[in-house]
Structures are given as C-alpha cells and as structure tokens.
C-alpha cells in the first residue's frame, strides 16, 4: 500500500497551539512545533496519551480550530476554517439523536445543497457499504454502540472526503464490537470499496495502532510534540499473536515510557527545580496499591512487561501510564525498557499492613512530591493550621493551565488523604489537620 512517491495529501508544518486565559495571558502550550504529512494510500495513527494534544491536532487539521502558529494544507490548499475534502468520525459518535439514520447520513451533502435524489443515492450506497441496510429509519437511540459508529462512518463517507479523520473511533465500544468494526473498515479499505485516499486516526491504544496503521506517529506530552515515527512494515491482515507484531507493540511501549530515561538524573533535577510545576495525574490510591501487588505477585515477581500487565489488568495505556508514573514519582516503582519494576521500598510496601503502608506512603509523598511538602509547610506555619485551597490553586496556575491545576489539586488531596498527611474540607474548600473526631 505504501508508496513513498505518491502525492502528499496533507501537510502540517510547524503547528503550535497555546491556549489563552480569560485575561489574555498565554498559558502552557498544548502543541509545540508539530510537522507531519500524509501521503495518498496510507493509514497513519497518531498515538499518544490523554492530554498530549492529539485531538487538538486533529481539530486543527480539520479546520475546526486554528493553530496559534504554523500552517496546514490539504491537497495544496491552505486550511482556513472547516476544510473540504476531510470528514471526521468521532469517539462519541456525535449523531443527532433527533434524526433517523438516513437523515443523519444525509446531513453533509444536504447542507451543501446537493440535490435530494443525488444525496439519497449516495447515502443509500454508503449505508449499504458500511452494513447498515435495514436500519435507515431507526433513530440512534435504538442502535447499539457498534451500529451507531457505523452510522458515523457512513455519514463521513457520504461527503466523499479525500481524507478520513478518526478521533479514537473505537474506544467507546466494547472489545468485540471494536474488533469487528476495525476489521470491517480495514477490509473495505483494502478492497478499495471506499473512495477515501488516506486515513489519519488518533488513538491511545497501541495495539490498535499497530493493527491498522502503515505508519505510527507517537506524540509526547506537555507540550504535545512528535516523539517518534515508526513504520509498520507488516502485511495486512495482521495477526496480533505474530511475534513481529508483539515485538513492535513492545517497542512502542518501551518508547512511550522510556523517553525520559536516558536523561533520568537530569529529569529528576528538573522535577526538583520544577517543584510545584509538576502536574499530577488523578489516580485512585486503591489502584496504586493494587498495581503494586499485581507486579509483586507471580507471574511478574517484581517486574512486569507493560503490554502483558495492561492485558491482565484489562487497562488501556491511559489508565496504566498515570498509575505507573505516580508510582515512579513516589519511587515505589520505575519504568525500564517497556517494563515496570518495583523498587525495594515498593516491595516492602506490598508486604506491609494498612497502617504501615500509610506511613510509608506519607513519607514518600513528602519526600518526592514538592506540592505535598509545600502544603504541609504552609499548614505548619499558620497558627490556625488551616489553608484555603484557592491559595494553592493560584500558585499552581502560575505553572499550568486551570484544568491541570484543578486536577493536580484533586490528585494531591486524594494522595494526602490516603497518607493522612492532611485533611481537606470540601465545604470550606480548605486544607487542615483536623479530621472529624
């Protein structure tokens, strides 16, 4: 399929995106200097974790939002506003609940003023190709998730786009349905039954990317930028159990966790310097403990291969990585070459009882997360031993966007409560040492 000489359909050059606050100050960039291109006849996957700006990039490409910097062109024409020649498939399906399947599919051409009979012909054809025959008069509410996403595909196909953009199209579906839909789409694509020249999909599912794409672009987070580009030379249809397939998946896992690894000392120095600027993911403390226990237990015995661990815990990387990272921050575990390994204290933690665990957790929290230490210091200094949350929120907002600040605060409240470092009163929105007697 991949022919390097074929025409470039889409060109993204040096795109950056920064969100502004209400007062007009520039905040942390979402995307930084992203360049990529899409050639005719290829499927490209944008792989990244939540918050790496991959959906933002997709919206910039489709013309739904405008980059702060840089330039996008499709078929040589600069994108300036919602672009012709692209159609998007959404994670949430985004169907109009008040329109029937047929009306939903027809909305694109009808809005463009394509005559009714021409529209109907194209719509029925798309419905037929995508396997929705017999459901024309159904409302989206009556359909299962898989059928709804088929409507999403038919709606995109009917406008005869050159490029199909897909924003995590299978991630809201159950495993079986998602697999069927992927296979059906790949079959249609292979057989040339859909008039699309190229597909760009966003995903956080590594296996999905390896299964479908000819080329995988890994986006790294904070700010989103291109981390790596990997060609997938396997022939379609691909087999998940194929050793080559597994190896590629492993490589990508390693890539996505190990990136900071070469400069680890540097990174830690940076983290210390960043101090409060360290954005924390929101994770459940039960999951943290659960994950430590899982890694400690056989068959892993203290060191787990990430793809396997993801499989056995039924987790996507968006669930797995934040857990792993929090453990790494707390120095209870660390990533190494696509594996996650318990540190000695991590192993001790697993063998401890509840109270001991909490004590150890609190120590590590204070030692390794500057925000936790900062909150404790403030509480100690104040005679009342109380401090409003807004104070810390504002400090955090000097380093990160409001959303991230809020999330980080939530995360530290959660971790602090578990470690019994401090209490938090939701009504008063204040930190303190008091817990109800």
């Amino acid at each position: 399929m991949l022919d390097p000489s074929s025409a470039i359909l889409l060109d993204v050059s040096h795109v950056s995106q920064t969100y502004e606050t209400g007062s007009g100050e520039a905040r942390a960039p979402v995307l930084h200097d992203v360049s990529l291109s899409l050639r005719q006849g290829e499927i490209v996957a944008l792989l990244g974790r939540s918050g790496c700006g991959k959906s933002t990039l997709l919206r910039i490409i489709s013309g739904l939002s405008r980059p702060t910097d840089g330039h996008v062109s499709i078929g040589g024409e600069t994108v300036d506003g919602p672009a012709e020649g692209v159609a998007m498939v959404f994670q949430s399906f985004a169907l109009f609940p008040w329109l029937t399947v047929l009306d939903n599919v027809e909305i694109g051409p009808r809005a463009q003023g394509v005559p009714l009979d021409e529209t109907r012909k194209r719509a029925l054809q798309a419905i037929d190709v995508i396997g929705l025959d017999g459901f024309e008069s159904a409302y989206p509410k009556e359909l299962s998730g898989g059928m709804r996403q088929r409507v999403g595909f038919a709606r995109a196909l009917v406008v005869q786009p050159k490029i199909l953009l897909m924003d995590e199209p299978f991630s809201a579906l159950d495993v079986l349905t998602a697999e069927t839909l992927r296979t059906d789409l790949l079959d249609l694509w292979q057989e040339g039954r859909i008039p699309i020249k190229s597909i760009l999909m966003v995903t956080h599912n590594i296996e999905e990317a390896v299964l479908m794409a000819d080329r995988i672009i890994v986006l790294s987070s904070n700010p989103g930028r291109i981390g790596a580009e990997i060609a997938v030379p396997l022939a379609q249809p691909r087999n998940r159990l194929d050793p080559e397939f597994r190896e590629l998946v492993d490589r990508i896992y390693a890539l996505m966790t190990q990136r900071p690894e070469p400069k680890r000392a540097e990174r830690e120095a940076a983290a210390a310097a960043v101090g409060l600027g360290l954005a924390l993911p929101l994770v459940s403390t039960n999951s943290l403990a659960g994950m430590l226990e899982e890694i400690a237990a056989p068959p892993y015995d203290g060191q787990a291969d990430l793809p396997h661990l993801a499989d056995s815990l039924q987790m996507e990387i968006d669930d797995l990585f934040p857990l792993g990272e929090t453990l790494q921050l707390l120095k209870l575990a660390e990533f190494a070459e696509g594996d996650i390994k318990l540190t000695p204290t991590g192993k001790q933690f697993v063998d401890m009882g509840v109270d001991q665990r909490k004590r150890l957790f609190a120590e590590h929290l204070l030692a390794n997360i500057p925000l936790a230490a900062h909150i404790k210091r403030v509480l100690d200094e104040r005679p009342s031993h109380r401090a409003p949350a807004t104070r810390f929120r504002e400090e955090l907002e000097d380093y990160m966007s409001e959303d991230y600040a809020e999330r980080t605060l939530r995360a530290i409240i959660n971790l602090g409560r578990y470690g019994e470092l401090f209490a938090y009163d939701e009504n008063a929105q204040a930190f303190s040492y008091e817990n109800p007697q």
């Binding site: 502004e20 209400g22 007009g24 919206r59 489709s62 013309g63 739904l64 919602p82 012709e84 692209v86 159609a87 998007m88 959404f90 994670q91 949430s92 399906f93 985004a94 169907l95 109009f96 609940p97 008040w98 329109l99 009306d103 909305i107 694109g108 009808r110 809005a111 463009q112 003023g113 009714l116 409302y139 989206p140 509410k141 009556e142 709804r148 406008v159 009504n427």
Partner: protein, 576 residues
C-alpha cells in the same frame, strides 16, 4: 425533568453585581417613560367600547374560547421573543453582557405590577379600540412566560454538546442550517417543559388581566377572568362555580391535546443516547402517529419543513461572534461598550428617581420598604407553613408509586389552575366571619403556588433510589433521623425547584391577594402588593413605579442571597 428551569438558574452568578443594577435601572426607566408619556396626555384613558359581560352560563364556552385564544397568542409571541432574544444573547458576547442581566431582573419583577403601564401603553397605541386592551392582556401573559422560556433557550444554546457542534461546523452548515438542525432541536425538551410550566402561571395572569381598572378606566375583555370579576361584583356563587368548572375543562383540554403530545414528542430530542428513563406518553400523539391518513397527509409538510431548515442561509452577523479575541482593539471596544451601557443605565436610573421624587419623598420610600418587608414576611412564613404541611404528605405519596401516579396529575393541574378565580369568594368568607385580613389574605398568597412544592417533592420522593431506602431500613434508621438524614436530603433538590417556583409565584400573587374586592367592598392587607394594587386602582404612577421597583429589589436579593445559594448547595452536595 422539572429540574431544568431552576437548574439553569442555579448555574448563574449568585451575588448581585453592577450588571443587575444596570438592568434594574433600564427596566424601571422604560416603565417610567411610559408613565410619563401618559401624564403628558393628561386626559383620561379612552375607554374602549367593549360588550358588557353577562353571567349567563351559555356565554361561558365563548368566553373560555376567547381566554384560550389569548393564551395562544401570548405563546406565539413568547416563542418569537425566545428565538430572537436568546439567540442574540447566546451568539454575541457583548449583547449577552446586557441582555442576560435584563432577563434575570425581568424574571424577578412582579409582572402584575406591569399591568397598569402596559394597559396605558397599548390603549394609547389603539385609542378607543378594544385591540389595545387585548394587546395589554396578551402582553401580560407574555411577560409571565417569555423570560423563563428565553432563559431556557439561552442555556440550551450555550450548552450544545461540543461534538455535535463540531459535526455541524465540519460539514460547514450555515448559521440558519445549524440553528434548525442542531441548536433548536437540542433546546426542545427543556424549552417545551419551561413553556408548559410558564403556561401554568399564564392562566393566573390571563384571569388577572382581563378585567382591570386603571384610574377611572375599567376595561373588561370577554373571557373567563372578566366573567369571574363580574360574578364577584354581583356576589353570585353559582356563576363563580360555573366559571371554575369551565376553567378546569379548558386547562384539561390544553394539557391533554396540546402539551402532553408535545412533551411526548419532545422526548426524541433528548441527547442522552441511552433508552430508559420513563418515556412520556400521550394518547393524542399516538393517535396522530398511528393513523395512516394523517401520517401520509403530514409527510409532505415535514419534508418541506426539513428542506426549509436546510436552506443555505447565513444568519446575519449583527455583532461580533463569540470567540475570545484578545486584540487590543477588541478590548477597547469592550470597554467602550461597558461605558456606554453604564452611562445609559445611570441616566435611566436618574430619570426614575427624578420622576418618583416629583410626588414622593424619602419617607414614602421608607414606608414602601416597610410594606415590602411585611410582604416578605408573609411569603416566607406561608412558604414555611406550606412546606411543613406538604413535604411530609408528598414524601408519603411519592414513596408509594400507585398513589404518586394518581396524585401527580392532580397536583400539576392545581398548580396550573388560576386560583385568583376564587379570591373573591375567599374574601366573602373573611368578611362574613370578620377575620383579620392581614392574616387570612396571606393564605391566598400560597393558595395556588403550594402545588409546585407538592408535585416536585412527590417527583423527588418517587425518584429516591430504592437501595438507599433499603439501606436505611437495614440499618434501622427511623423516626426523626430517617427524615433528617435520609429522605429530606434526598428530595431537597426537587423540593427547592418547587419552592423557588412557588416563591416567585407568591410574590406575584401578593399583588392580587393583598387587595381583593367582593361586591362593593374591598379587603386589603398591609403589604407592598396592596400598595401597588391600590396605586393601580387610582392610576397613581409614581407610587406604582416605587412599589414595583422596591419589590423587584427585594425579590432579586431574596432569590440571589437565599434561593440560589441554597439550590447551588443542594445541587453540589445532594444531587443523587
């Protein structure tokens, strides 16, 4: 579902700010301008030539029809207003800055206080013609519906799901197409519900506005309200009963033939994609949808409407679109805009003060403040009493599905029923038993509005999760503890929805309820409602302006400082 209107309200700011002040000034200034214009003419209002109201039973169906038609006309204008005003507010940031506070204050202004102004205004527009009086009545109903509907629509426009919005933009729908394909349909469920709720209030206003006296001019339009007014004048109990029965039938027909089908139909516009929830049903809608020839007949009509909704029209860009624009020029325009609005409002406020001060002094302001305080006391006390009585009963009913099913429609019906039809009769009792009007007229204030508390609380109790009930039973939580820790927090958001609606209605009702006529006698209580009503009777405009303004301030503060805070708290902490 009954949450929608108040849920929307709770999302808004809580504390009053300068925008509220500006809005209040603007509204009062418009009223003053009308009153002034009237004074300029200085002649008695030309009484239009209206047929005399007869108490003949045979005339009642005709009167009922006229009343119902007025409701229709008002609803039409309310929709017109909703679609334009709310759309403008939602699409333009600068328009929003001024339009939304105005709407917010208008919601708190006692609409019945308007009546004298609007009658004057419309009679002036059509001198000597009954059309003026009709317009005034329709406008009164309009004011009881439009603000609420516009707010609901505005809220919907601002909360269109992002992915659907992206689909619409991705397919490059024009403004017109997007409005009809996405925004209007998305707003339908909440708009329909708010329309129905407003309609309940509307019956009250249609009755109040059909027979009105401003100064020397008395206007009676043919309708059930005038019929009752005449019956009150003559003290005819049988006629009152007949009118009440007629009204009941009209409301029932409206409900069954108009609103039930529309609500059932609106169900398909709900965005949550899961089936489930209880599906509203309507026999009329089913009849329409399942009858073959009707379906075939309307199909071309729907196809035509759909085609029209897809015309490639762009909506006019009156004002800059809602994108945040940080360029300095835009900032400067923003500042200029705020300055202009503020100056206009300050001037407006000043003109109101000047006007009122021609005849009234500070002592009057103090007196009206005190009267408003009495009314506030009345509203608070009566709401408390009504809650104490009805919440336990409603909880009891709501926890028993079969009872709830039977009682719920009755409570909704009672909420819609214009109890002012009965005020005259109630007053005759006060006179007969020589009761204290300050106490017993107060009862009338919550007479019609208490039902909002009843049916919302029933809905809350019915929706209370069964597992929580079982858990409470399992841990043997009983008696006072059960009320305090289990069921009251559980129904609180629902109760508050009802209570806020009831409180708003009660303020309005006070204008009618504190000053009631029976035969040739007038019974009045001490309160701002009676003050406004009496001033209306005498055509004393400065006093009306003062009374309405004072009441608006009280209502706004009461809503902001009390209800919204409470509601926001309940939403945050107690929503299950």
């Amino acid at each position: 579902m009954s949450m929608m209107n108040v849920a929307a309200a709770a999302g808004r700011r809580v504390l009053p700010n300068h925008w509220d002040l500006i809005a209040l000034a603007a509204i009062m200034a418009v009223l003053t301008a009308i009153a002034r214009a009237y004074h300029g003419i200085a002649a008695p209002l030309p009484a239009p030539n209206v047929p005399v109201i007869t108490l003949d039973y045979a005339a009642l169906p005709y009167y009922a029809l006229r009343t119902a038609l007025r409701m229709f006309a008002a609803m039409f204008f309310s929709f017109l207003f909703t679609f334009t005003y709310a759309t403008l507010a939602a699409k333009s940031r600068r328009a929003e800055m001024a339009l939304i506070p105005i709407l917010d204050i208008l919601q708190s202004v006692p609409i019945l206080g308007f009546l004298s102004f609007t009658v004057t205004f419309f009679l002036g527009l059509f001198p000597g013609n009954v059309l003026g009086a009709e317009c005034a009545a329709i406008f009164a109903i309009f004011t009881s519906q439009a603000w609420n509907m516009a707010f609901s629509f505005y809220q919907s426009l601002r909360t269109v799901p992002r992915d659907l919005d992206e689909v619409a933009r991705g397919f490059r729908l024009t403004g017109w197409q997007k409005f009809w394909q996405l925004e209007a349909p998305f707003a339908v469920p909440s708009l329909v519900w708010n329309t129905m709720m407003s309609m309940s209030g509307g019956w009250f206003f249609v009755v109040a506005s059909e027979a009105i006296t401003v100064g020397d001019t008395t206007i009676t339009l043919p309708g059930v309200g005038s019929y009752i007014a005449e019956a009150n004048n003559q003290g005819r109990w049988d006629a009152i009963l007949a009118a009440v029965a007629t009204m009941a039938v009209v409301i029932l027909i409206y409900d069954q033939v108009l609103f039930r089908p529309i609500i059932a139909w609106a169900g398909k516009f709900r965005v949550e994609l899961s089936v489930g929830q209880q599906v509203e049903r309507s026999w009329v809608l089913e009849l329409l949808q399942r009858t073959n020839w009707i379906r075939r007949g309307v199909r071309p009509l729907f196809a035509a409407l759909r085609a029209a909704s897809l015309w490639r029209l762009s909506l006019p860009r009156v004002l800059p679109a809602r994108v945040f624009d940080s360029r300095p020029v835009s900032r400067l325009v923003d500042i200029a805009w705020v300055v202009v609005v503020t100056v206009v409002a300050a001037w407006a406020m000043w003109s109101v003060v000047i006007y009122v001060s021609t005849e009234l002094s500070w002592s009057d302001v103090g007196k009206v403040g005190l009267l408003t305080f009495y009314t506030l006391l009345r509203v608070v006390t009566l709401m408390a009493i009504a809650s104490a009585i009805w919440v336990p009963i409603s909880v009891w009913v709501g926890l028993r599905p079969r009872w709830a099913e039977a009682v719920q429609p009755i409570a909704q019906f009672l909420a819609a029923f214009p109890v002012n039809l009965l005020f005259g009769a109630a007053v005759s009792l006060i006179l007969a038993f020589n009761l204290n009007p300050d106490i017993w007229l107060s009862v009338l204030i919550v007479f019609g509005t208490q039902w909002y508390i009843v049916f919302n609380t029933i809905a809350g109790a019915a929706a209370f999760p069964n597992d929580l009930r079982e858990a409470a039973a399992n841990f043997r939580v009983r008696g006072l503890d059960w009320w305090r820790k289990v069921i009251l927090p559980g129904v609180a958001p629902y109760y508050l929805t009802g209570a806020i609606t009831a409180s708003g209605g009660s303020w309005n009702a006070s204008i009618v309820a504190e000053y009631v006529k029976w035969k040739d006698q007038t019974v009045a209580a001490h309160g701002v409602g009676a003050y406004i009503a009496e001033a209306t009777d005498k055509g004393d405009f400065p006093r009306i302006v003062l009374g309405v303004a004072m009441m608006s301030i009280f209502v706004t503060l009461f809503n902001r400082l009390f209800w919204r805070r409470l509601y926001a708290h309940a939403e945050r902490r107690l929503r299950l």
